[in-house]
C-alpha cells in the first residue's frame, strides 16, 4: 500500500479557513496528519472549524487580511509559535457582483486588497529565509471568471486574473529555492459565496440550469482534494500553473 498524500507533521497555513473551500481544505489536511494554522476574521467560526479537525495541535489567528502592513508581523508570530511552514493555501476572498457603472475605485481597491494584494504580501513574507521548509508549496484559489470574464464581475475577474498572472511570474523566481506556487481555477462550487451569487442571479430574473438543479456542482471538499494534491510531493514538478475545476463548462 502506498500513501499518495502524506502530510504527517507538515505545517500548512490556510487563509479563509472559517468557511467554504478554506474550511474543507483544513479539515481534509488534518485527516492526512497535517498541523493546520488557520487565518480568518470570525473567531466563533474559526473555533467551530477547529472542533471539526482531526487530532490536536492546530491553531487559528483572527486577522483582517486587508491590513496589508500587519501581515509581516502576523507571519513572524505564526512561525515563532508554530515553526516553519510546509504549505500555504489562500482561500480568503470576496466576490460581489457589481455592474461596471458602479465599479468605482473604492470598490475595486477593496476587492484587490483581499483577493490579490494580501496574497502577494503573504507569499512575499512566507518565502523569506527562515519561514519555510524545503519543498514549500503554495496554492492560490482562483476562478474561471479570471480567464473568461463575467458580466458584473469586473473587479472580481480582475483580482483573479491578477492572482494567476502573479503566480506565473513568482513561480519563475522561486524555482531555484525549490518552492512551488500554483492556482486552482474553479467554476461554481457549493459554498456561501455561491449562495450569494445565486440570489443575485435570481435578481436578474434568469432561471438557469443551476437553479433548476440540472448541473451537478462540486462541493468544497472536491476542490480541497486538488489543493491537497498540489501541496503534496505527488505534484513535485507542477509549478506556475493552474488546475481548472469546472466540469469543462467554464460557467456563465
Amino acid at each position: 500500500m502506498i500513501d499518495l498524500f502524506n502530510f504527517n507533521k507538515k505545517k500548512i497555513l490556510v487563509t479563509g479557513a472559517s468557511s467554504g473551500i478554506g474550511k474543507a481544505t483544513s479539515i481534509l489536511l488534518s485527516k492526512l496528519g497535517a498541523k493546520i494554522i488557520m487565518i480568518a476574521q470570525n473567531k466563533e467560526r474559526l473555533d467551530s472549524v477547529t472542533k471539526e479537525l482531526d487530532a490536536q495541535g492546530h491553531r487559528w489567528y483572527s486577522y483582517n487580511l486587508k491590513e496589508i502592513s500587519g501581515i509581516n508581523l502576523l507571519i513572524k508570530t505564526i512561525v515563532e509559535e508554530n515553526g516553519t511552514l510546509d504549505g500555504f493555501v489562500h482561500c480568503a476572498g470576496i466576490s460581489s457582483m457589481r455592474p461596471l457603472k458602479m465599479t468605482k475605485y473604492d470598490f475595486l481597491h477593496d476587492m484587490m486588497l483581499i483577493n490579490f494584494y494580501s496574497f502577494v504580501e503573504l507569499v512575499r513574507v512566507i518565502t523569506r529565509k527562515g519561514n519555510y521548509n524545503n519543498g514549500l508549496s503554495i496554492v492560490g484559489m482562483s476562478s474561471v471568471s479570471g480567464i473568461k470574464g463575467l458580466k458584473s464581475k469586473t473587479a472580481y475577474s480582475a483580482s483573479k486574473a491578477a492572482l494567476d498572472g502573479a503566480i506565473r511570474a513568482i513561480s519563475k523566481e522561486l524555482h531555484d529555492k525549490k518552492i512551488r506556487i500554483n492556482s486552482i481555477i474553479a467554476g461554481l462550487v457549493k459554498t456561501e459565496m455561491f449562495e450569494k451569487y445565486k440570489s443575485n442571479i435570481i435578481l436578474s430574473g434568469k432561471i438557469n440550469d443551476i437553479e433548476r438543479g440540472d448541473i451537478n456542482l462540486p462541493e468544497p471538499d472536491d476542490i480541497a482534494r486538488s489543493i491537497t494534491f498540489l501541496l503534496s510531493d505527488s505534484a513535485k514538478y507542477i509549478n506556475g500553473t493552474n488546475i481548472i475545476i469546472d466540469s469543462g463548462l467554464k460557467y456563465d
Binding site: 458584473s152 440570489s199 443575485n200
Partner: protein, 72 residues
C-alpha cells in the same frame, strides 16, 4: 437625505434625465429597469446607506416609492 437627492441618485443609475421619475412611477414601465439596474441599486444602497438588500426584496419592488423606502 431628502427625497430629491434620492430621486437624483436613482435617475443617475438608470441613466435617465433629471425629473423623469416620480414616486408613483411603476418600475416595470421603465425600459431601463433591467438586471444591470437592479444590481446597481443593490450596490447604491450598500455604498450610500450601508445596508444590504436581498434579491427577494428587489423582486418585491413595484414602484419608485418602494425603492425610496429602502434608501435609509
Amino acid at each position: 437625505m431628502e427625497i430629491e437627492k434620492k430621486m437624483e441618485m436613482l435617475e443617475e443609475i438608470l441613466e435617465l434625465e433629471k425629473g423623469t421619475l416620480a414616486e408613483e412611477t411603476i418600475l416595470n414601465d421603465i425600459n431601463e429597469w433591467d438586471s444591470i439596474a437592479k444590481l446597481s441599486l443593490v450596490a447604491l444602497i450598500e455604498d450610500e446607506f450601508g445596508s444590504k438588500i436581498s434579491g427577494e426584496q428587489v423582486r418585491n419592488l413595484v414602484s419608485i416609492k418602494d425603492i425610496l423606502k429602502l434608501m435609509k
